[in-house]
């Protein structure tokens, strides 16, 4: 902990920033508490205080389609990480790296073709060409 004093200059912007953030948050909440109008009744206690009365519960069941799309997003999003890693080192890795990236993207593309053909990408239509991924979810 002997290095702590030395590092204080590096820390002070962070301290000031934290102070400003806390002050702003308290300030905003406090001002609206003091100045704000209060009335009860009607739909004011409801989540949408503009007056729209919510219907039903927030815990409705979503279609598994949403899940499927989310999973595709996560998977393909993570594949992008590797493309970025390659892009950073594109000069060092040279043509061999380029070829490897082509193979990588080729495999991803064939996976996409597979998803498309089994009907996993169809949105909304109940009927799928083959019993495939949608059925499994």
């Amino acid at each position: 902990m002997s290095g702590a004093e030395l590092n204080i200059p590096a820390l002070w912007p962070f301290v000031v920033y934290s102070g400003v953030v806390i002050f702003m948050a308290i300030g905003m909440l406090g001002t609206s508490y003091i100045l704000g109008e209060r009335h009860r009744g009607g739909a004011m206690g409801q989540p949408y205080e503009c007056g729209i009365v919510p219907t039903g519960s927030a815990r409705l069941r979503h279609s598994a389609k949403f899940y499927l799309i989310a999973v595709f997003f996560v998977i393909f999003d993570l594949e992008a990480v590797f493309v970025f890693a390659w892009a950073v080192a594109v000069r060092e890795s040279g043509w061999a790296g380029y070829a490897e990236m082509l193979i990588f993207i080729g495999i991803l593309l064939s996976a996409l073709v597979y998803l498309w053909r089994i009907g996993a990408l169809e949105w909304g239509s109940r009927h799928t060409p083959r019993r495939g991924a949608e059925d499994s979810l």
């Binding site: 590096a10 999973v71 998977i75 993570l78 590797f82 499994s136």
Partner: protein
């Protein structure tokens, strides 16, 4: 720059790992067990990044990328299986499985 001692990072990773393990052992809900496993995996990831920083190599961070990818693949397949389990049983409780926990 402030440098964090490597022991602290490893200690934090170990604590995270133990927390995750506790979750795996104590939780009954499959989803929470899966979440706890993610905590364990990320603890291992932190340890890798710290180790990479110690030797000034990129290997630790590359391993972290692999861990992320694997966790995503695992969650994708795992959630599909868990969804099927829910469809069959209407519960996410592992203790409800035939024969219970052995």
């Amino acid at each position: 720059m402030i440098t964090v001692p490597i022991e602290h990072v490893i200690l934090m990773a170990a604590i995270l790992f133990s927390l995750g393990l506790t979750g795996v052992l104590a939780r009954r809900n499959v989803l929470f067990i899966l979440l706890s496993i993610e905590v364990m995996l990320n603890a291992a990831g932190i340890a890798f990044v710290a180790a990479g920083a110690r030797w000034a190599q990129a290997d630790g961070q590359i391993m972290f990328l692999f861990i992320l990818t694997m966790a995503a693949a695992e969650v994708a397949v795992g959630l599909a299986i868990i969804l099927q389990y829910y469809r069959h049983t209407g519960t996410l409780d592992v203790d409800a499985m035939g024969g219970g926990r052995r």
